[in-house]
C-alpha cells in the first residue's frame, strides 16, 4: 500500500467531511488537516504499528512470503514527529508563527497561499517564515548537540 495514496485519501476524506465558508477557511483547515495526517502517519511508522510491510495475505494453504526485504528508514518519520513537537512549543510562544509553519511546511503552500490562508501580506509571511524557521532550526539542533555531547 502506497503511503501517498493513504495520505491522499485521508486528506480528501477530511476535506469532504467539512464545509467551508470561504477560501481562507478552506486553506487554513486544509493545512491543519495535512499536519494531522502527516504526523499521525509518521507516528504510526515510528511506533511500528504498520509493521514491516503491507497486509499479510493468507490465501489457501500458502503462507505469506515477502516479495522484498522490508527495509524501513525511519529517520524522516522521527524528524517529522520532532518538528511537530517543536512546533507545539513555538505555538505557545507565537501562534502566528506556528500557523505559518503549518501552511508552508506541512501543507506546502506558497507564500501567497499562506498569506491568503492567514489573512496576512506576502511580505509578512516571508519575514515570519524566516523567523519561524530560524527558531525551529535552533530548537531541533539543540537536541542534536545534546545527543552528540553524550554518546550513549
Amino acid at each position: 500500500m502506497q503511503t501517498t495514496a493513504l495520505v491522499h485519501e485521508a486528506y480528501l476524506k477530511l476535506l469532504n467531511a467539512a464545509r467551508f465558508n470561504d477560501r481562507e477557511h478552506f486553506l487554513r483547515a486544509a493545512a491543519l488537516a495535512m499536519r494531522h495526517i502527516l504526523i499521525n502517519h509518521a507516528r504510526d511508522r515510528v511506533a511500528d504499528k504498520r509493521g514491516g510491510g503491507a497486509h499479510h495475505v493468507d490465501i489457501d494453504e500458502v503462507s505469506e512470503i515477502g516479495i522484498g526485504e522490508p527495509e524501513i528508514d525511519l529517520g524522516e518519520a522521527h524528524a517529522l514527529v520532532e518538528i511537530n513537537e517543536a512546533l507545539g512549543r513555538l505555538g505557545a510562544i507565537s501562534p502566528r508563527l506556528a500557523q505559518i509553519v503549518e501552511c508552508r511546511f506541512f501543507a506546502g503552500y506558497t507564500d501567497e497561499q499562506t498569506a491568503q490562508a492567514l489573512g496576512l501580506t506576502d511580505r509578512t509571511v516571508r519575514r515570519d517564515w524566516v523567523k519561524a524557521r530560524a527558531w525551529l532550526r535552533r530548537e531541533l539542533s539543540v537536541g542534536q548537540d545534546v545527543l552528540d555531547a553524550n554518546p550513549s
Binding site: Y11, L15, A54, V57, E69, I93, L136
Partner: protein, 943 residues
C-alpha cells in the same frame, strides 16, 4: 521557556535586524539587546540559523519519504485465488495489488489480471458483489472486461479482469511519437468507452492516464471503471466520492459535491490536456497536496496552447492547439459541472467537428437545453381516517433517462424552441381564421401544431419523441387529460416502432398504463403490466436506474388490494428511494417515494419514522429546481397529520397552513385538494376543542366549492369530513345526505380500500343519531367485517371499529346476548391494543363502555373502569378528540352517583357540563347527556 510577551520583544528586534544587510547583524544584535545579555544570546542564536540549507524544513513535509521501502507482502507465485493461479505481481496501486494469473485448471489458455483489494472493501460483501455485477455488464471493445470476482479467504476481495498488455496512453503516444490526429483518434475511442459506460449508468470517477492503456495494436483499453466508488467505504451513500488521485479530481470530488457524468467529462478534459501538451496542467507533479487541491478549486487550468508554447518539449506544436482545441479543453474542465459538456458524446461531437473543420459548440456560451421532463398527471387522493391524512403521490410518468441523450442535442434544442415559438405564433393556416387572435385558446394553438409533428420531423424520430413529450406536458398543464394520454400513447408507439420494446420510453409507457389501471382499481391488470415492465427493465439492463425506481413505486401501489402486503409494499417503496437517491435525486418522484414510504410507516403505526421520512421528503422536494408544489403541499399535509398523531398540535397546525397555502397558490381555491387539506385542518381544530375556528374553516371551505362543481373524490372527501363534524355537533340530519352522496361517489371511484369502510363508520354514526338503527347496524357491521378482513389485528383502525361495534351493541341491544358479545369484544380490544395504546383512544373508550356496562349492577367496578379510562386517555399521545375526556368524567359521575357519593358525583357532572358548554355543539350528544345528568343530580352548573 520564552513567554509570549518576551517573544514580542524578540520578534520586533528580529524584524529590525533582518532588515539590515547580513554583515551588520552581529552588531545589531548587540546594539538592540543593550545590557540584556540573555536577550543578546537569544537574538544571536536565532540569527545564526537564518539562511543556509535545511534538508527538512525547506521542503514540504509531505515530500519526505517517511518510509523508504514499503513493499507489499503480497501473494507468491503459485497461490490460488478462486479458480486462478497467481503468476507474478504486475504492480501495486492505491487500491491494491494487481497480479497476473492463469486458470488453475488449465481450461483456457489466456491469462488474466487479478486485482486484490484492500480488506475493508470486503467488509461489505453485498455491496462489493452488487458493484461487481454492474461493472461486469460493461462490454465494450475499449473497456477491460471484468470476468469474475469474489472474496478471498482472508476477507480481501478480488476481481478478475482482462489482462491488458500495453502502456499508459501518455507513454504510448510519446514512444510512438503520435501526431495530433492520432492522439485525438485514441482519445475519441476512450470517449466512446466512457459514453457507453454512462449509458449503462456507470461513472468512472478516476479517469487518468494510468487507467487508460493502449495495447500493442493501438487499441485503448480503460481500466478500473467505477472501482473508485467501490473503494470508498464511507457509510453514507450520498457522500461517497472516492477520489484517489487528486491530480485528476474534479472540484466537486474534492468538495463533496455530486458526482455525475460531468465529473468524468472533467477528467477527460485533463487527460486531453496532458495528451496534447505532454504535462498536467497543475505544474510540477510533486506539488504538495494542499497546494494542489487549492489550485484545482481556485486556480484555472492554463490555456493549452499557451502552456505548450512555454514548454520546451511539447509533443504538439502550440499553433495546432490554439483556437478550437483550447476552447474544447476549457469547456471540459470548467469548475461548475453544469458549465461543462453535458455529456461525453457532446465532447466527442465537438472534437469530430473540429477534425472536420466545422464550427464547434464550445465557443458559444449558450447553455444547452436539457430535455424537459414529462409532467406527471397527478391523481392524488387525500384519504382519511379521522386523524391521519394519507396522500398518495403518483409516480412521475415522465422520466429523464440519462443514457439517451442524442448526439444532435444542440440541433434538437433549436428545433424544440422553434416548435414552441411556432405554436404561439399561430401562423398555421389550419387554425381557425375566423377567430381573432386573442380568442384562440392555447389548446387550439397546440392542437394545430401537434398535428405537424409527425410530418415535419418525419426523419428525426428522436426529435419527434421529444416534441410529443413536450406537447403532452403542455396539455397536462392545460388539464386536458385526454390529449395528454393520446400523445403519450403516440410517443410510446413511435418509440416501440423504432427501437423495439427495450427503449425507456416504451417501458415508461407500460408503467404508465399500469398506473392507469391502478387508479381504476384494476389491480390484476396493473400487476400483469408491471410484470411485463419488470422483464423489459431487466433485459435492458436498466435495473439500476430511476426508471426502475418508478417501477417500484407503481408496484407498491399495485399491492393495495393484496391483503397482508404491508411488508412487500414497504420493501418496494424503500427500494424506490434507494434508486432515486442513487440515480436521479432530482427526479420529481423521489419525494413521492419518500412520502409514500412515510405512509407505509403510518399504516404500521410507526409515526416517528414516518415523520422522519416526510421531513426528508420535504427537503428533497425543495431541492428539486422545478419541483411540484402540489406534491409538496400534500407532503406537508401528511406530515401535519403525522405530527398530530405524535401529539404535536402546534407544529401540525403550522404545516397544515403551509399546505393549504401551497395548494391555493398552485391550483387556486377551486381545487379539490385545497378543500381536502382545509377539511383536515378543520377536523384537527375541532378535535382540539376549538369549535368556533373549526366551524369557520369548514364554512369557508364549503363556500369556496362552486355550486356547479362536478363531484370528484376530493371535494367529496372534504364534505365527508364536514359531515363527520356535523354528526359530532348533533346535526346528523344534515350529515346524512352528504355522506350518502359521498358513498355513491366512493363506490364508483374509490381510491383506497380503506375509504369505504371508514365512510360506513361515519354513516353508522349519523344513522344512529337520526334513529335509523337498522341502517346504522348494517353499516357498522359491514365496516367492521371489512376492517377485520383487510387489516391486521391490533391496528388502531381495527380496534376503533371493534370498540364502536361494541358500543353500538351496548346502546341498542337487540338481543340479551348482545351485551355479552359487547363485553367480549371490548376485552379483546383491550388485549390487542396494549402495544399501540399511545396512538389510539380505542382503549379508553373500551373502558368507558365497560364502565357503562357495569353501571347498575356493579357501580364500584364501573368506577374502576372509569379510572382506567382516564388513565388510558392520559397515555394517548396523539391529538385526539377531547370530548372523550368529558365522556370519562360523565361515566365517572354516573358511577359515583350510584355509589351514593353524591357531592362528588355532582362535582363531576358539573365539570363535564362546563366543558361541554365550551366545546360541544348545543345539540350534541355530549351536551345533552351532561345536561341530563346535572339535572338528575340536582347539581347547578357553574356560571
Amino acid at each position: 521557556m520564552t513567554s509570549p510577551r518576551e517573544w514580542q520583544r524578540i520578534d520586533a528586534a528580529l524584524d529590525e535586524i533582518l532588515g539590515l544587510p547580513p554583515a551588520e547583524w552581529s552588531d545589531a544584535c548587540r546594539r538592540l539587546a543593550g545590557d540584556d545579555s540573555a536577550l543578546r544570546l537569544e537574538l544571536e542564536s536565532l540569527v545564526a540559523q537564518v539562511g543556509g540549507d535545511d534538508p527538512l524544513l525547506d521542503f514540504p513535509a509531505a515530500a519526505l519519504p517517511t518510509d523508504r521501502v514499503y513493499p507489499p507482502v503480497g501473494l507468491a507465485p503459485g497461490v490460488r485465488i478462486g479458480a486462478y493461479r497467481v503468476m507474478d505481481l504486475l504492480g501495486v496501486g492505491g487500491m491494491g495489488e494487481v497480479y497476473r494469473a492463469e486458470r488453475a485448471d488449465g481450461q483456457f489458455e489466456h491469462q488474466v489480471a487479478i486485482k486484490l483489494m484492500r480488506r475493508e472493501v470486503g467488509d461489505r460483501p453485498q455491496r462489493f458483489h452488487a458493484e461487481r455485477q454492474i461493472l461486469a455488464r460493461l462490454e465494450h471493445p475499449n473497456i477491460a472486461g471484468l470476468h469474475d470476482g469474489g472474496i478471498a479467504e482472508d476477507g480481501r476481495p478480488f476481481m478478475v479482469m482482462d489482462l491488458v498488455v500495453g502502456q499508459f496512453i501518455t507513454r504510448w503516444c510519446e514512444e510512438h511519437r503520435s501526431t495530433l490526429e492520432q492522439r485525438l483518434t485514441l482519445f475519441l475511442a476512450v470517449c466512446d468507452a466512457v459514453a457507453y459506460a454512462h449509458r449503462k449508468l456507470v461513472i468512472h470517477r478516476d479517469l487518468k492516464p494510468s487507467n487508460v492503456f493502449v495495447t500493442e495494436d493501438g487499441q485503448p483499453k480503460l481500466l478500473d471503471f467505477g472501482v473508485a466508488r467501490l473503494l470508498d467505504q464511507t457509510p453514507n451513500d450520498e457522500t461517497r466520492h472516492g477520489a484517489l488521485t487528486p491530480g485528476y479530481a474534479a472540484p466537486e470530488q474534492l468538495t463533496g459535491g455530486q458526482i455525475t457524468t460531468a465529473t468524468d467529462v472533467y477528467a477527460l478534459g485533463i487527460l486531453l490536456f496532458e495528451l496534447l501538451t505532454g504535462a498536467r496542467p497543475w505544474g510540477d507533479d510533486d506539488l504538495p497536496l494542499g497546494a494542489l487541491v487549492d489550485r484545482i478549486l481556485d486556480g484555472n487550468v492554463p490555456t493549452a496552447s499557451k502552456f505548450a508554447a512555454s514548454r520546451p518539449r511539447s509533443p504538439i506544436p502550440a499553433k495546432q492547439l490554439a483556437g478550437d482545441l483550447d476552447a474544447i479543453i476549457a469547456k471540459a474542465v470548467r469548475k461548475e459541472p453544469d458549465s461543462r459538456y453535458a455529456s461525453v458524446t457532446l465532447l466527442q461531437a465537438d472534437l469530430n467537428r473540429m477534425l472536420r473543420s466545422e464550427p464547434i459548440s464550445a465557443r458559444d456560451g449558450a447553455r444547452l437545453y436539457v430535455a424537459g421532463r414529462f409532467v406527471k398527471r397527478h391523481r392524488w387522493g387525500v384519504a382519511a381516517t379521522s386523524v391521519i391524512a394519507a396522500a398518495v403521490l403518483t409516480a412521475a410518468v415522465g422520466i429523464a433517462w440519462q443514457g439517451h441523450v442524442a448526439t444532435q442535442q444542440a440541433a434538437r434544442a433549436l428545433a424544440v424552441k422553434n416548435f414552441l415559438v411556432a405554436v404561439f405564433r399561430a401562423s398555421d393556416p389550419r387554425i381557425a381564421r375566423d377567430k381573432p387572435r386573442g380568442q384562440i385558446t392555447a389548446k387550439e394553438l397546440l392542437d394545430g401544431s401537434v398535428a405537424r409533428i409527425d410530418h415535419d420531423f418525419a426523419n428525426q424520430p428522436e426529435l419527434q419523441l421529444e416534441l410529443l413529450g413536450i406537447a403532452a406536458e403542455i396539455y397536462g398543464y392545460l388539464l386536458d387529460d385526454e390529449r395528454y394520454d393520446a400523445l403519450m400513447k403516440q410517443r410510446v408507439a413511435l418509440a416501440r416502432r423504432l427501437y423495439g420494446d427495450h427503449h425507456p420510453v416504451v417501458i415508461e409507457g407500460v408503467i404508465t398504463d399500469a398506473w392507469a389501471n391502478i387508479y381504476s382499481q384494476n389491480f390484476a391488470e396493473a400487476k400483469r403490466e408491471l410484470e411485463e415492465a419488470d422483464a423489459l427493465l431487466r433485459e435492458s439492463h436498466l435495473d439500476q436506474s430511476a426508471l426502475r425506481a418508478e417501477w417500484w413505486l407503481a408496484r407498491d401501489r399495485a399491492l393495495e388490494s393484496t391483503p397482508n402486503s404491508d411488508a412487500l409494499r414497504r420493501l418496494a417503496v424503500d427500494r424506490a428511494i434507494v434508486l432515486f437517491a442513487e440515480y436521479d435525486p432530482l427526479n420529481k418522484s423521489y419525494p413521492a417515494a419518500l412520502a409514500n414510504a412515510a405512509l407505509r410507516r403510518v399504516r404500521e403505526v410507526q409515526y416517528e419514522e414516518a415523520a422522519r421520512l416526510n421531513a426528508r421528503a420535504i427537503d428533497v422536494a425543495k431541492n428539486i429546481p422545478d419541483h411540484d408544489d402540489m406534491d409538496l403541499a400534500l407532503i406537508y399535509a401528511n406530515q401535519g397529520s403525522v405530527l398530530s398523531s405524535l401529539g404535536k398540535f402546534d407544529e401540525a397546525e403550522k404545516l397544515d397552513d403551509i399546505a393549504a397555502d401551497l395548494v391555493r397558490r398552485t391550483s387556486g381555491e377551486h381545487y379539490g385538494t385545497y378543500w381536502r387539506v382545509l377539511g383536515l385542518h378543520a377536523a384537527m381544530l375541532y378535535q382540539h376543542g376549538d369549535r368556533v375556528r373549526a366551524l369557520k374553516m369548514f364554512t369557508d371551505m364549503l363556500a369556496t366549492i362552486p355550486a356547479d362543481w362536478k363531484a370528484t373524490t376530493d371535494d367529496t372527501r372534504a364534505r365527508e369530513t364536514y359531515a363527520e363534524y356535523l354528526t359530532q355537533e348533533g346535526r346528523a340530519v344534515e350529515a346524512v345526505p352528504l355522506l350518502e352522496a359521498a358513498l355513491k361517489v366512493m363506490t364508483e371511484r374509490p381510491l383506497h380500500d380503506y375509504d369505504l369502510r371508514y365512510l360506513q363508520m361515519l354513516l353508522a354514526d349519523a344513522y344512529e343519531q337520526i334513529g335509523r338503527l337498522d341502517a346504522a347496524r348494517s353499516s357498522l357491521l359491514w365496516a367492521l367485517e371489512d376492517y377485520e378482513a383487510h387489516e391486521p389485528r391490533g391496528r388502531p383502525s381495527v380496534l376503533e371499529a371493534q370498540e364502536r361495534w361494541a358500543r353500538f351493541l351496548i346502546d341498542h341491544p337487540r338481543d340479551p346476548t348482545d351485551l355479552d358479545v359487547a363485553a367480549k369484544v371490548l376485552g379483546q380490544v383491550l388485549e390487542d391494543g396494549q402495544s399501540l395504546s399511545r396512538y389510539t383512544v380505542a382503549l379508553a373508550r373500551a373502558h368507558i363502555d365497560l364502565a357503562r356496562l357495569a353501571l347498575g349492577s356493579r357501580p364500584d367496578a364501573a368506577l374502576l373502569e372509569a379510572d382506567a379510562a382516564a388513565s388510558a386517555l392520559r397515555g394517548v399521545r396523539s391529538v385526539h378528540d377531547l370530548r372523550i375526556d368529558d365522556d370519562v368524567v360523565l361515566v365517572r359521575a354516573e358511577a359515583l352517583a350510584q355509589l351514593q357519593r353524591l357531592p362528588e358525583a355532582r362535582a363531576c357532572a358539573t365539570s363535564a357540563l362546563t366543558a361541554a358548554l365550551q366545546h360541544d355543539g348545543p345539540r350534541s350528544v355530549g351536551m345533552r347527556r351532561a345536561q341530563a345528568l346535572v339535572a338528575r343530580l340536582g347539581a347547578r352548573p357553574s356560571t
